[in-house]
């Protein structure tokens, strides 16, 4: 018997290609001469009316093929000149607004697309962009949550108070419970804006083939099927005329799930109009000012609790900055408002949020997608309760945990997918014990005293979260065993570096009994799998993994049926090992899967060795048609997986930091993660996801922010000033331990793992820094994240000033 690959640290099949520079990204497509290149004129102003656009100076520039403004869009189709779609409407989003592919009359953020130039190369296209003259009438910009709430100016004239949506959910009566509670606290917290920073930005290539009468589109997306549908509708094409191919994607982190981006429509429009291949490759500055940001929230929390720190009522109000438009609906604040609860039972919970317009880049999900803010709100509250009661922070958390025998546990709220927020499985007390052991929680006070004796200040923080992963509605898979015996697998969702080609092949090899090396996985190609949703919400392993498992099962069933006939044996007596079907206990009686594939198709032209080998076998009922009514030719399996609801992964992070008493520099001494994503398919890949997530979380907590000035200019739109951590800023080692409580919702018992590493960062660092600072600056709360040394220093000054 071959060893099961599920759960093994199988080396990633992708890495040789990526590490040797052989990855093939959108910009590597259509590199032949003749491809035209696009550049976009973007608004330099945060809020302005467009009075006139003069493209005269561009027209005679040699090498320029076309320049488009909003006025030209209707010449493609009327719908091209309509606003972009609102992807996920919600009844509470009473004032949803989306931008046009090219601005019509008004711009609402620095970076909004105004004109689109197509030229021989990007250099000429940028020269041309520089020659376009736009007359603006300036309007007052609304920047930041305070300005949005004050509403002295409006982003959109017809959106009163800048409020796009207000949503309230209640479980029990939190205000009443808090009023009656023995202890009460209030917290005011803020989280600043940050953004996904994939190494590969957005990019789209389109080629109109007049011979085939169809469009081929390569785009760096997290949903190729979504882009396909959007492009077909906007361009007035049949769905069947549009192929969308997602090649290697150099990181997504959420920003590429929003679609269609203006360029995803403008590039194919130009390609069809000009009859030439057209390419748009976003540059870094464009990524900062014209893709998407996230995270910005202001939170007010009121909590009532008993002497043990047990929550009696939790009342949360928060304001979410969604930028200038709402293409992705309310997904981010809904996730904050529901996932805030983490592993705890609040008893009574009220949450209300307002989603606000500002004259800044749009806000769509960024890895974690609202969970980091929710975790921050809840965990800061837990720390505040512990400080108030003088209790151990871990103990306060423990008394509030949902217990292992309480699953499935219904939190009584509606989650992002419109389904009940019902946790399927977990074991939070066991996880806390593992976390404490891993970080050395009980030994920490002695370490802290030892450091203090040396004049050093250290602190420890703990943060817990629950993450709804693998949301529906579905994914599908197609498994094809070719006559060569090689197995070709296709699933429609896309890959941004997660290692899908490895883990999905592991699942297929296990289920089919073929060699891992014989399995090839294709993702994100609508020609191979036209029905799919996308890669977001930590859903790929759960959704496509389950679908692939089911599809492989179907292929196997068919293979066994044919093989049983060919070998004149009972299906139950057959086994498949390394691609050979044999009768158990009688290894001589066997047939290769490739030969079975030949037998599955009555048209047996003997093109290959497997076809010649198949002549010795006889299958099929001579009394029936060659392909019976309930059968299909070919050795394939196709299936879909559609779960009732999300499956809930969980985790706890703990960090020990040192803060410099003089310079306020923050150094990470130890970082520990305990993670539960159910059964692990490939622990090495899960740990890689955690490493990357923690690194991104370090950035989000200590380094990265979007520095907008009052006029709405982004001051740090480059990697020189937007400080992503280097390897030198990330802990040398991240201690990881796993817990495996399988999900009952899918055949493999798995849960998602992609976003987990980044969720508790703001919470856990705030806690650890507060703890470290407590000796010299007692009572100084960390309430605004991210935090830089300069800000920590300012906080010390104002705290000590107040208390002196």
């Amino acid at each position: 018997m071959t060893t099961k690959l599920m759960g093994q640290k199988v080396q990633r099949v992708e890495d040789q290609r990526f590490l040797r520079g052989n990855g093939r990204y959108v910009d590597d497509v259509a590199v032949e001469g003749g491809t035209l290149h696009a550049a976009v004129l973007r608004s330099p102003h945060a809020h302005a009316r467009i009075l006139d656009i003069d493209v005269e100076a561009v027209l005679d520039l040699e090498g320029v093929h076309a320049v488009f403004t909003w006025d030209d869009l209707a010449s493609c189709t009327p719908q091209m000149a309509e606003p972009l779609p609102l992807l996920i409407p919600h009844p509470a989003l009473t004032h949803g607004r989306t931008q046009y592919a090219l601005a019509k009359d008004e711009v609402n953020y620095v970076g909004e697309a105004i004109a689109f130039v197509v030229a021989d190369d990007r250099y000429i296209a940028e020269d041309a962009v520089g020659r376009i003259r736009v007359d603006y009438e300036f309007l007052p910009p609304v920047v930041g949550i305070d300005a949005a709430r004050a509403a002295t100016s409006l982003v959109h004239d017809d959106v009163p108070g800048n409020i796009g949506a207000r949503l309230e959910q209640n479980v029990g009566d939190a205000p009443a419970a808090i009023a009656q509670a023995p202890h009460r606290l209030e917290l005011d917290l803020t989280v600043e804006r940050s953004a996904c920073m994939p190494m590969e930005g957005r990019g789209t290539v389109a080629r109109w083939d007049p011979d085939l009468n169809r469009l081929q589109l390569w785009t760096s997306t997290q949903s190729s099927t979504g882009v396909r549908a959007a492009v077909a509708v906007k361009m007035g094409l049949d769905l069947g005329q549009v192929d969308v191919i997602t090649p290697d994607v150099g990181g997504g982190f959420g920003v590429k799930i929003n679609h269609p981006w203006p360029e995803e429509l403008l590039v194919p429009m130009a390609a069809k109009a000009l009859g030439r291949t057209v390419k748009f490759t976003e540059d870094r500055r464009e990524h900062f000012i014209s893709s998407a940001h996230e995270r910005g929230q202001v939170q007010h929390i009121e909590v009532g609790f008993d002497d043990d720190g047990r929550l009696l009522g939790l009342d949360v109000e928060f304001w979410h900055d969604h930028g200038a438009y709402t293409p992705y609906g309310l997904i981010v604040p809904i996730i904050t408002s529901t996932q805030l609860l983490g592993p705890y039972k609040p008893q009574n919970y009220k949450v209300v949020f307002e989603s606000l317009y500002t004259n800044t880049v749009i806000v769509t999900p960024y890895r974690g997608a609202g969970r980091p803010q929710g975790c921050y709100a809840m965990e800061r509250t837990m720390d505040a309760i512990a400080a108030y009661l003088g209790k151990d922070r871990a103990e306060v958390r423990a008394v509030n945990f949902i217990q292992p025998d309480e699953f499935p546990y219904d939190q009584g709220l509606i989650f992002q997918d419109g389904r009940e927020l019902e946790y399927d499985s977990g074991d939070y007390p066991a996880m806390l014990e593992k976390t404490k052991a891993l970080v050395g929680w009980d030994e920490f006070p002695a370490f802290k005293a030892e450091m203090a004796a040396q004049g050093r200040q250290v602190g420890i923080g703990l943060a817990c979260y629950v993450e709804g992963t693998g949301v529906g509605p579905y994914e599908g898979a197609h498994v094809h065993i070719e006559t060569s015996g090689k197995v070709k697998v296709a699933t429609g969702l896309t890959t941004q570096g997660q290692g899908h080609a490895t883990v999905f092949a592991q699942l297929v090899a296990d289920e089919l009994g073929v060699k891992f090396e014989d399995v090839e996985v294709v993702t994100g190609d609508t020609r191979r799998m036209p029905y799919a949703v996308g890669t977001f919400a930590s859903r790929a392993a759960v959704m496509s993994g389950s679908a692939i498992h089911l599809a492989a099962k179907r292929a196997k069933e068919k293979a066994l049926k044919i093989a049983a006939e060919a070998l004149e044996a009972d299906e139950k007596d057959l086994q498949i090992v390394d691609g050979v079907v044999s009768v158990k206990g009688s290894p001589g009686t066997s047939i290769d899967l490739g030969t079975v594939s030949v037998l599955s198709n009555p048209l047996r032209y003997a093109f290959d060795e497997a076809s010649k080998a198949a002549t010795q076998f006889s299958v099929g009922d001579p009394g029936k048609p060659p392909v019976p009514e309930d059968d299909e030719p070919g050795l394939e399996g196709k299936d879909f997986y559609s779960p009732e609801r999300a499956t809930f992964a969980s985790g706890m992070h703990a960090v020990i930091v040192e803060t410099d008493p003089e310079t306020a520099e923050i150094t990470i001494l130890k970082y520990a993660v305990v993670h539960d994503c159910g059964h692990l398919i490939n622990p090495m890949i899960v740990e890689g996801q955690i490493h990357g997530g923690v690194a991104q979380g370090v950035g989000g907590a200590l380094y990265e922010r979007m520095a907008y000035d009052e006029s709405g200019q982004l001051l740090n739109a480059s990697f020189m000033d937007f400080l992503m951590p280097y390897v030198t800023e990330v802990p040398d080692g991240i201690d990881i331990d796993h817990l495996e409580t399988p999900s009952p919702l899918n055949p493999l018992g798995i849960k998602g793992a992609g976003e987990a590493g980044v969720i508790p960062s703001a919470a856990v660092f705030a806690a650890a820094i507060e703890d470290a600072e407590g000796t010299l600056h007692p009572g100084m709360g960390i309430t605004a994240m991210p935090i830089s040394p300069s800000e920590l220093y300012a906080l010390r000054q104002s705290h000590d000033g107040k208390n002196s």
Partner: protein, 288 residues
């Protein structure tokens, strides 16, 4: 992020390079390109002509000058890369402050291409080497249509990103004076990330036996808009930071408030002066 059109010249001699510069008022010299090329790509600079000096032979030398010449020191050619200067045993022996500071200049890949002289005349007050040259009292030798002249560091930096070179002059070398036998040096900086521009950096030079007669000078980067050297001779140890701040006016930016920069000036001033004294002492065990 593509540069605007420009003409490209690659002269084989300094004279040709000077001629190319003189013929085009809007020309820029390209040496390592580590500052210039990003500025071009972001279209923050759009010179009509780039004069690439990388084809001129003999500019990459690092030479030790004997005491008879300017009191001794090292001369670094215009095409000597940071990495080569950092790796030079001669430089380390003659003026150890140069490698101490160079190890903080950006990242290895940038040091492999970027030139020390290029960094000096780019005149960025957030860069390490202009402060080192200023503190040591070094100079830059330039060549223009009128021939060669030497610009002392004290006259080199006239404003933010502005040197006193004329547009048709090329910096051909820099001179770093040798460390005097009775002197000590130190360099320290605090940056948000490893290899980033410093929030504040400080270089110290102490000369003479400990006591009131000891010369103490500290140079600062990322504090003012030009590299700034402050004389702290005779200042008591616990007043060094405040004495320095009396002559500095730290600025605010998105990475640090002015108050935080002032705090870093206090901390770093004390640290580098202490380290420079320890350095000096280590050279002179007989004083112990």
């Amino acid at each position: 992020m593509k540069p605007a059109p420009f003409a490209y010249r690659r002269p084989g001699t300094i004279a040709e390079a000077v001629e190319a510069l003189a013929g085009e008022p809007n020309a820029k010299v390209l040496a390592g390109g580590q500052s210039l090329v990003p500025l071009l790509s972001m279209r923050l600079a759009a010179p009509a002509t780039l004069v690439d000096i990388n084809g001129i032979p003999g500019l990459d030398t690092i030479t030790v000058l004997p005491e008879s010449e300017n009191g001794g020191g090292v001369r670094v050619g215009a095409l000597a890369r940071h990495a080569a200067v950092l790796a030079s045993d001669d430089v380390r022996r003659v003026q150890p402050l140069v490698p101490l500071a160079l190890s903080h200049v950006a990242h290895a890949t940038i040091r492999n291409r970027g030139t020390t002289v290029g960094s000096l005349v780019h005149a960025d007050a957030a860069a390490e080497m202009p402060v080192v040259l200023s503190l040591l009292g070094g100079s830059v030798e330039v060549e223009g249509p009128a021939g060669r002249r030497t610009i002392p560091a004290s006259e080199l930096y006239v404003g933010p990103l502005e040197s006193s070179l004329h547009h048709d002059e090329i910096a051909v070398s820099a001179f770093f004076p040798a460390l005097a036998p009775g002197a000590g040096v130190a360099f320290e900086e605090i940056a948000r990330r490893h290899g980033d521009y410093a929030l504040v950096g400080a270089a110290a030079l102490v000369d003479g036996a400990p006591g009131d007669g000891q010369s103490v000078k500290v140079g600062y980067l990322s504090v003012s808009d030009v590299p700034t050297v402050v004389d702290l001779s005779g200042v008591a140890d616990d007043e060094l930071g405040e004495a320095a701040l009396a002559q500095l006016d730290p600025a605010e930016d998105i990475h640090a408030s002015a108050a935080y920069r002032a705090q870093l000036v206090r901390v770093l001033t004390a640290r580098v002066v202490r380290s420079a004294r320890v350095f000096r002492q280590a050279q002179r065990p007989e004083e112990l």
